[in-house]
């Protein structure tokens, strides 16, 4: 399950995964890696009413918490991972990347409904950030499929931000 989640979570690049090749994305959780700059700028909340493109990043603090949450998942401690992610969300309340991460965790917990809501919330927050929108859209489609709502999943996948 940990591998599935890690395979599906791509907000962070594994710091030193050169020795072991990354596990192929599971067909149910497709998500190619999102490239992050190696020195991410601290997350700046976009000024309001700015529909121009911007990118969401994780701050060093939330980045380290996401890393910690993944380690907790790898140890099979999903509740702890959830609480770590919520801690990150209190630090950066409007970062869609954290909602995507939480949604992936919910999928790993087989809670497809909450994963879907996380996907929708992430999508709303990702407005103006193409990469984040794509990831949120994938999460949403996966969550819909996990509930057998394949038609709706396909509709999400044909949205303009999905390519």
């Amino acid at each position: 399950m940990a591998a599935v989640l890690l395979g599906g979570c791509t907000i962070l690049r594994a710091p030193s995964s050169s020795s072991s090749p990354p596990s192929p994305p599971s067909p149910s959780l497709p998500a190619p890696p999102m490239q992050l700059p190696s020195q991410p700028a601290p997350y700046q909340a976009a000024p309001p009413q700015q529909p121009t493109a911007h990118e969401n990043h994780l701050s060093p603090a939330t980045r380290s918490l996401v890393t910690q949450a993944r380690a907790q998942v790898a140890h099979g401690d999903l509740p702890a991972a959830s609480s770590t992610l919520e801690r990150a969300m209190r630090i950066e309340t409007n970062n869609p990347l954290l909602w995507i991460e939480l949604g992936r965790l919910r999928l790993a917990e087989s809670n497809a409904h909450q994963a879907e809501v996380c996907g929708r919330k992430a999508l709303a927050l990702a407005s103006g950030d193409h990469d984040a929108q794509t990831q949120a859209g994938r999460l949403l489609a996966d969550a819909l499929r996990a509930q057998g709502r394949n038609q709706q999943a396909r509709e999400v996948e044909t949205q303009p931000f999905m390519n």
Binding site: P42, P47, Q50, L65, N94, L125, S127
Partner: protein, 764 residues
């Protein structure tokens, strides 16, 4: 002769028989006591009430915790200024630099061992964190503050120590003072009894007890308080059996956890773990020899030597214990002398008592736990409580209620109020003020005062309108008199609060200025069932009665229910249930249950975004504009005033980027206050928010929504350089707006300018 011989034999037989029967009965009794001792002691469960912890404060570069805030927080957690190398619980501050020796802490998701951290903080925020190895630390959280405990049924409160938690000096000190031959005897100490007897005879009164620690433990743990020969015998037998089955270590640690050390109202302080927190507000491991000596001395008579009531007796007792410890060479005699000259070092127990918040916690827990488990099973409850927000809300409410009472002509009546502060994106309740008497248990208005919400309902009406896609912020609606024939045949003729009539007004203005007539007309056009649907999606549990007066807020809600509704506005249309408990751990720190954030879709994000932007106009141009003078410059807040009929209830509900707060002000007997939402509740709200560090409300604009300038009075599209009354509103992209012919909007490319200007208008 033969006769008398046989008689003698018979008597002897009877005596032997009686003795045998007695021995048998005694044996049965001893076996019974033996079983009781084994059963009760082996499966022993200390009665430990659930302990409630606040949200730990997270530190990271950029966290809005200035150097002074940090020191205040460390003091709240009972960290002491000193040399951090000496051990956990100590910090050293030089300007903005802090060197901290953090304690061992149990969090929901991990157990953290003690360690050194250095923190550099500026005036307003944390700048840098480093670990013991000097490496950058991305994030570090402080200890969770103990807020209180869910009160025990029998009044017994304790913090259970494991053998590893017991300082060596405490072990040897307690044995020295209470039972010198503890390591030699088998539960009962004949020498001790003789010594006590001799001492009592010489003194002519009881000055010494001959009880061993084991007997004292048996007495407290198994037996009642009566002093009879029978009970003394039982105690002795049980003590012997206890010693036969359990190690000295088991018995000593149990004794240290059981012993009674004081009384705090209804609450009995048991054990050295709690004793340390109760008298010195720090963990046992951090006590110095003087403090430890005082606790050891208290065993003899916690009320007689009560250091808070009889400081002189307590000091003499402590110094006697110090002397004994020095004589037995357990401590250095110069150290003993130095400690004897020190003050007692008492400190008030940690955390202020917050019954209103604990009340919410108890209600949330009751869904999942039995009362008895909460009172006795030693659970640790981790909550979303924020002591800073609680203090801010209490201060603001108290200050304004006193001011309003003084200004009021109603003599002898005292205004009441309630405040709830929550985190908007999760529904986490961070503070609850249930009335102006914050320390008292009693009517919790924040949770139980169900009052008409007045105009707080209006955003739901406007949201329902936006959701139809037939309305936007610039749509003109008619503010004109209206008379409705109700189901019972009566006529309903609402009026504006100002008793004026405004005619055709843009929707944004009608909401900002809380116009009743325009709202009733809008609501009737949209349809009451739609508005009831919207309210239920937002989180109202019971379907409201479909009466036109619903549109003006005759529906009754508690402040907590209003928090639920407004969370959906603040959270981009996602509903989150108000939550106070994050997780519950059992007595061993194992997670029992966690209450994870759960959100549901309540309304389309684009409609909510349009509404939220209209709600920011309430605080810049509308009935809530009084808030801005109290808020820090640059703050963007959205919210709504509410006033019920004849000003019986004064409400304000609103949010920034960081906090959502709902305030109610009124009289308990529901009399007229003369206060609108803006006059009563709003200042409380604004001062609460102003004293918390808060990010401005900056919702992410949906891609299908754009900003346009309209005249606030006429709703016509305009430019800010042309119309001084221009306000920016959010409308669906491509919406056709009738323009002001004298100043048509500049075409394309000027959007960013508009944004900047809009920003300036709200960030003045």
């Amino acid at each position: 002769m033969a006769r008398s011989k046989s008689l003698l034999r018979r008597i002897l037989l009877i005596i032997a028989g009686a003795l045998g029967a007695l021995a048998a009965v005694t044996a049965v009794w001893v076996v019974h006591l033996d079983r009781v001792v084994i059963r009760e002691f082996q499966g022993r469960h200390w009665s430990v009430p659930a302990r409630v912890y606040a949200e730990p404060l997270d530190l990271y570069a950029g966290a809005s915790v200035g150097a002074d805030d940090l020191e205040e927080e460390l003091r709240r957690l009972h960290y002491r200024e000193g040399d951090p190398a000496a051990g956990p619980g100590i910090y050293h501050r030089r300007g903005g630099y802090f060197d901290l020796h953090a304690r061992r802490v149990r969090f929901v998701d991990e157990l953290r061992e003690p360690g050194r951290v250095s923190i550099r903080a500026g005036g307003d925020s944390v700048l840098e964190l480093k670990g013991a190895d000097g490496a950058e630390l991305p994030v570090f959280r402080l200890d969770p503050l103990l807020v209180g405990s869910v009160f025990p049924v029998l009044g017994e409160d304790r913090i259970v120590l494991s053998p590893a938690d017991v300082p060596t000096l405490l072990r040897s000190g307690v044995k020295l003072v209470e039972d010198r031959r503890f390591d030699q005897h088998h539960g009962v100490d004949p020498y001790g009894i003789l010594r006590a007897l001799w001492a009592n005879l010489r003194a002519g009164r009881v000055v010494q007890g001959g009880s061993t620690l084991t007997q004292q433990l048996v007495k407290n743990y198994f037996l009642s308080d009566e002093q009879t020969i029978g009970r003394k015998t039982t105690e002795a037998v049980m003590a012997l059996r206890l010693e036969a089955h359990f190690t000295k270590e088991d018995i000593l640690v149990a004794y240290l956890n059981e012993v009674y050390l004081g009384q705090d109202g209804e609450r009995a302080i048991h054990g050295f773990g709690l004793g340390s927190e109760y008298y010195f507000a720090k963990p046992l491991a951090e006590l110095n020899i003087g403090e430890l000596a005082l606790l050891i001395g208290l065993v003899k008579g916690p009320s007689y030597y009560d250091p808070r009531k009889h400081a002189d007796r307590a000091r003499a007792r402590r110094n006697l214990v110090l002397q004994e410890l020095a004589d037995a060479r357990l401590i250095d005699s110069t150290a003993a002398k130095r400690a004897a000259a020190e003050p007692l070092g008492l400190r008030p127990p940690g955390g202020r008592y917050v019954p209103a918040y604990l009340d919410l916690v108890r209600r949330h827990l009751k869904r999942d736990y039995a009362e008895a488990d909460l009172a006795a099973a030693g659970l640790a409850v981790y909550t979303t409580f924020d002591p800073r927000a609680q203090a801010a809300a209490e201060r603001a409410l108290a200050r304004h209620l006193s001011r309003l009472d003084a200004a009021s002509r109603v003599r002898g009546a005292h205004l009441e109020g309630a405040v709830i502060v929550a985190e908007p994106n999760s529904g986490d309740v961070v503070a609850v003020v249930g009335g102006r008497e914050v320390g008292a248990e009693g009517f919790n208005r924040a949770l139980d005062a169900r009052r008409p919400i007045g105009s707080l309902v209006k955003p739901a009406v406007y949201l329902a309108a936006l959701e139809t896609d037939r309305y936007n912020a610039a749509t003109l609606i008619e503010d004109a008199p209206i008379e409705l024939k109700l189901g019972d045949g009566s006529i309903w003729a609402p009026q504006n609060f100002t008793h004026e009539i405004y005619g055709a007004v843009p929707m944004a203005r009608a909401l900002a200025e809380s116009m009743n007539l325009a709202t009733v007309r809008l609501g009737l056009a949209v349809g009451l069932p739609k508005i009831a649907d919207t309210l239920q999606r937002l989180g109202l549990e019971a379907r409201p009665t479909l009466n036109p007066s619903l549109l003006l807020g005759t529906v009754e809600m508690t402040p907590l229910e209003v928090v639920q509704i407004y969370t959906s506005f603040a959270n981009g249309g996602f509903r989150a249930r108000p939550r106070s408990v994050r997780a519950v751990l059992d007595e061993h720190g194992r997670p029992l249950k966690s209450f994870e954030v759960q959100v549901e879709v309540a309304a389309p994000p684009s409609a909510i975004y349009q509404l939220d932007r209209m709600l920011t106009l309430v605080t810049t141009r509308g009935t809530g504009r009084g808030a801005l003078t109290r808020l820090p410059p640059g703050m963007v807040a959205a919210g709504k005033t509410g006033t019920s009929s004849d000003t019986r209830d004064s409400w304000f509900a609103g949010f920034t980027g960081s906090y959502l707060a709902v305030v109610w002000v009124g009289y308990d007997d529901n009399r007229v206050t003369g206060l609108t939402g803006a006059a009563g509740a709003l200042p409380v709200w604004a001062d609460t928010i102003a004293s918390l560090k808060s990010a401005p409300f900056q919702p992410v604009p949906p891609e299908l929504i754009e900003d346009r300038w309209i005249g606030f009075g006429d709703g016509l599209e305009t430019r800010p350089d042309c119309n001084a009354d221009a306000v920016a509103v959010a409308v669906p992209k491509g919406t056709v707006l009738p323009g002001n012919p004298s100043c048509s909007s500049s075409p394309g490319g000027a959007l960013t300018d508009k944004i900047k200007t809009w920003f300036k208008t709200i960030v003045h």
